[in-house]
């Protein structure tokens, strides 16, 4: 049977959110649409790195906000959220915190007051903290049994050495934390201007209520952008985990940020290496040698830089082979031009992924969020989409030579000694 003709992907749809910026620095953004009567409210705080404050500490602060606020006790907060069927979810990375509330549109207005109180006026009650701390220590112990967590922590410590991003969680750290410090971090990071993104169906009333609340807030402005210089350690680190059935390998570096001329090309290079199912690493380590269930790479931009890394859990007794094969694949990219066919496949994959990210109103809002927070032009995605068609094989080779020298990479291996 003859295959249908493949239709080229030409453009990606974009729905533009409406915005209101208040004089206190807060921004409210909304996008109406969708078929179900549901809505999503996302709060975002952007953080500058602050000497001595670790990302895990801010995560704790955020979770502890639900343990009591000026007008609501912990129990009232959890009862109200559950009664109205609201699901909340934390996200975030070192440079931002996000809190998402999902619910039926009709139920959310009743919660707006709670929302603001929890976010801006948490009380961090002592007894609630003790209980929380105890559970947190247990979950830390549990996390230490997974090679993936150990690799991520060791990698971050050395990628961000001499920088707050390199401060990773420890049992002592949790034990030494107290409510005073929770208050301190909260006021440093969360009593600052923030953005709220509201999307969903029939959200008019909700947007109005949130806008009124935001407008009246008095918040200390963010400190000037004071980005500490970041350098990373280029070395091979091994940490033994007795009895491991799989080793976790994490290899990467700091690389260029969104505004650098190499950025778009580097995204393509990342996809070739480990950004899709047919990537070089998946083909070799999984589909040819069966060394892993999955291997991937990612490139995560923040400020003027990005973090690039390859990550895989591999057969413990053959971790060295896995490392060798990863090195071999990176060297091949440096030595040999990628074929037009493979490059075209990667481009259509990336363009497909971009269109996949337009399914539904929440996905559209995520696009807007990225544009607003990173101060990108409104046609950013469409122009990225088109730029992809211009990438040439020799650019990929040049970027590989520039960024993928084995000795320039931080390489972490956790598990059995081979």
């Amino acid at each position: 049977m003859k295959a249908p003709e493949i239709q080229p992907l030409i453009s990606i749809p974009h729905q533009v959110a409406k915005s209101q910026i208040f004089s206190n620095g807060c921004g409210l953004h909304w996008l109406e649409g969708g078929s179900q009567e549901v809505a999503k409210i996302e709060w975002i705080w952007e953080h500058q790195p602050i000497e001595g404050i670790a990302a895990w500490e801010k995560d704790l602060v955020q979770k502890m906000q639900f343990e009591g606020s000026e007008s609501y006790s912990r129990k009232q907060i959890s009862e109200l959220l559950d009664f109205y069927g609201i699901y909340s979810q934390f996200e975030g990375w070192m440079n931002y915190s996000s809190l998402v509330w999902h619910g039926l549109t009709r139920n959310l207005p009743s919660l707006v007051d709670v929302l603001f109180d929890v976010q801006l006026k948490p009380t961090f009650p002592e007894t609630e903290w003790k209980t929380f701390q105890q559970a947190e220590i247990q979950s830390f112990h549990l996390s230490c049994e997974r090679v993936n967590n150990l690799a991520r922590r060791l990698f971050n410590q050395h990628l961000f050495s001499n920088h707050p991003y390199g401060l990773t969680i420890s049992e002592n750290g949790i034990r030494e934390m107290d409510t005073q410090r929770l208050h301190h971090i909260h006021s440093k990071l969360f009593k600052k201007p923030f953005h709220v993104f509201v999307s969903g169906k029939n959200i008019g009333e909700l947007v109005e209520m949130i806008g009124e609340k935001m407008e009246g807030l008095f918040l200390e402005k963010n400190d000037n952008k004071d980005i500490l210089p970041i350098s990373y350690q280029k070395e091979l680190l091994f940490q033994e985990k007795m009895g491991a059935q799989q080793n976790c390998i994490r290899i990467g570096r700091l690389a260029v940020g969104r505004n650098h001329e190499d950025f778009h090309g580097f995204q393509v290079l990342n996809t070739i290496i480990g950004g899709y199912f047919g990537s070089r690493l998946m083909k070799n380590l999984r589909e040819d040698k069966g060394l892993t269930y999955g291997i991937g790479s990612m490139s995560y931009p923040f400020f003027e830089q990005s973090m690039f890394f390859i990550n895989a859990e591999v057969k413990a007794t053959e971790a060295q082979l896995a490392l060798d094969e990863i090195q071999k694949e990176l060297m091949t990219l440096q030595k040999e031009l990628i074929s037009e066919d493979e490059l075209n496949l990667v481009i259509s994959t990336m363009q497909g992924q971009m269109i996949q990210g337009c399914d539904g109103i929440f996905a559209h809002m995520d696009r807007n969020k990225n544009i607003i927070l990173n101060q990108l032009s409104s046609d950013y995605y469409q122009s990225f989409f088109e730029k992809l068609n211009e990438i040439r094989p020799d650019e990929i080779q040049e970027l590989s030579q520039k960024y993928l020298n084995w000795d320039d990479l931080l390489r972490v291996n956790i598990g059995l000694r081979n």
């Binding site: 049977m1 295959a3 249908p4 493949i6 239709q7 992907l9 749809p13 649409g33 078929s35 179900q36 009567e37 549901v38 129990k75 959890s78 009862e79 959220l81 559950d82 009664f83 109205y84 069927g85 699901y87 999902h102 619910g103 039926l104 139920n107 209980t131 105890q134 559970a135 247990q138 979950s139 112990h141 549990l142 049994e145 997974r146 090679v147 491991a244 059935q245 799989q246 899709y276 199912f277 047919g278 999984r286 040819d288 040698k289 069966g290 892993t292 269930y293 859990e313 057969k315 496949l345 259509s348 994959t349 363009q351 497909g352 992924q353 269109i355 996949q356 337009c358 399914d359 539904g360």
Partner: protein
């Protein structure tokens, strides 16, 4: 609609999305496996990505049309989906029909996928604390029913010894139109898509719908307990009580009972024993929701100072309360509200709509997707109490207890 070859097809049109999803549910899961060759349905799912005589590289074709695709295997069925920019829907149908008709099976691809699945086995079940809980719990909670093993398989050796001839037989027996459901959701024109389905999916293949006849267990069977000493950081337990299957009228109230106990921070187990009187670092309750009679699971990790006696007493006090006292209208309304939110959010993107439609059709009728809500809303406090009394029987409890190696 149903094609002459027995393939059932369901549509859901949504012109507001730029995407379309093709979902194929095949009525075969781990429960259809030979007890000596478990893990086979899932291993086979991996082989479905290995190419065909016509399209040697499944993934390359999928990538060339901008697709996002994946599959999963449950104890009951296997599900494949592919979501594409809607202008390439025809190509997606062509691609999916092709591998349902014929696949290229080789010793080489079987050998590689065996290794990959063994690494998956280690990553998900062995290389993390409590990862083997379900491997241990199933054979205690089920005696006869093939739910007594996990989809990944009983043990790695079963995967190692899978043979190519078994693979071929499996494909010929279960991967037939009569045993499959095709659902399409997203942006398409109905006439056009029907023409395409007719063109690509009308192939004939001998076979029949899976009769789904399995050895059942007695609902009041007596449970078993197993103690495990392992490299784990804390004492932890998994309790399993037998419950009804997904099609039983009591399923809805049963599901809500697990929500009363463990859904949301204000649920009884979480409020009482994580916060109010902390005995655990985490605690959860959920139902399996399989087609045949399943399990309600209560799972928790003990805080270091908590004794086993305290832990058990605490859980039982909440279970007994459900048996002895009617749940308040407020509490019932709360869990119904929670259900409604999650229900609305599970029908948003085109791939989950396609999966939900195929799933309900497989359960008996795709229209049920619109009727579930009412069934949950009609659950009464007395029903909850009646079922709690039936379910929470100490004698039918199966359990595993993890103890850290000293």
């Amino acid at each position: 609609m149903e094609l002459p070859n027995g393939l059932r097809v369901i549509f859901h049109q949504d012109l507001s999305t730029p995407l379309a999803t093709v979902n194929i549910l095949v009525g075969v899961g781990a429960r259809d496996e030979n007890p000596d060759h478990t893990g086979f349905a899932h291993l086979f799912e991996h082989l479905m990505f290995g190419g065909t005589p016509l399209i040697p590289e499944y993934d390359a074709f999928a990538q060339s049309i901008g697709a996002e695709n994946n599959a999963f295997t449950s104890n009951d069925f296997t599900n494949y989906y592919i979501t594409v920019p809607s202008q390439n829907l025809e190509s997606a149908l062509y691609l999916e029909a092709d591998r349902m008709r014929e696949i290229e099976l080789s010793e080489r691809s079987l050998d590689v996928q065996r290794k990959v699945v063994i690494e998956e086995f280690k990553q998900r079940y062995l290389n993390q604390p409590y990862g083997d809980a379900w491997l241990e719990l199933r054979p205690l909670a089920y005696f006869n029913h093939p739910y007594r093993w996990a989809t990944i398989g009983k043990e790695i050796e079963h995967i190692e010894k899978s043979k190519l001839s078994d693979v071929k037989h499996f494909f010929e027996t279960f991967y037939v139109p009569q045993n499959s459901i095709l659902s399409i959701s997203g942006n398409f024109q109905m006439d056009q898509v029907k023409t395409w389905i007719d063109r690509y999916f009308s192939f004939q293949k001998p076979g029949q719908q899976n009769p789904k006849a399995y050895a059942q267990d007695h609902p009041n069977r007596s449970g078993k307990r197993k103690d495990l000493e392992q490299e784990v950081p804390q004492n932890a337990f998994y309790w399993a009580f037998p419950i009804v299957g997904r099609n039983h009228p009591d399923y809805y109230a049963t599901d809500l009972i697990s929500d009363v106990l463990g859904r949301g921070k204000s649920s009884r187990l979480k409020e009482n024993w994580l916060k109010n009187n902390p005995l655990f670092s985490q605690i959860n309750a959920y139902v399996t929701g399989d087609e045949d009679p399943g399990l309600m699971v209560i799972q928790g990790n003990l805080l270091p100072e908590t004794t086993w006696e305290e832990a058990e007493k605490a859980i039982w006090s909440d279970l007994h309360l459900l048996c002895n006292e009617l749940i308040s209208d407020y509490n019932l309304e709360k869990i119904k509200n929670q259900y409604q939110t999650s229900q609305a959010f599970s029908n948003i993107d085109s791939s989950s709509i396609a999966l939900n439609l195929a799933y309900f059709e497989w359960l008996g009728d795709a229209k049920r997707i619109h009727q579930e809500d009412e069934k949950y809303m009609n659950v009464s406090p007395t029903e909850i109490q009646r079922l709690a009394k039936e379910i929470f029987n100490a004698s039918s409890l199966s359990s595993i207890y993890y103890h850290p190696k000293s």
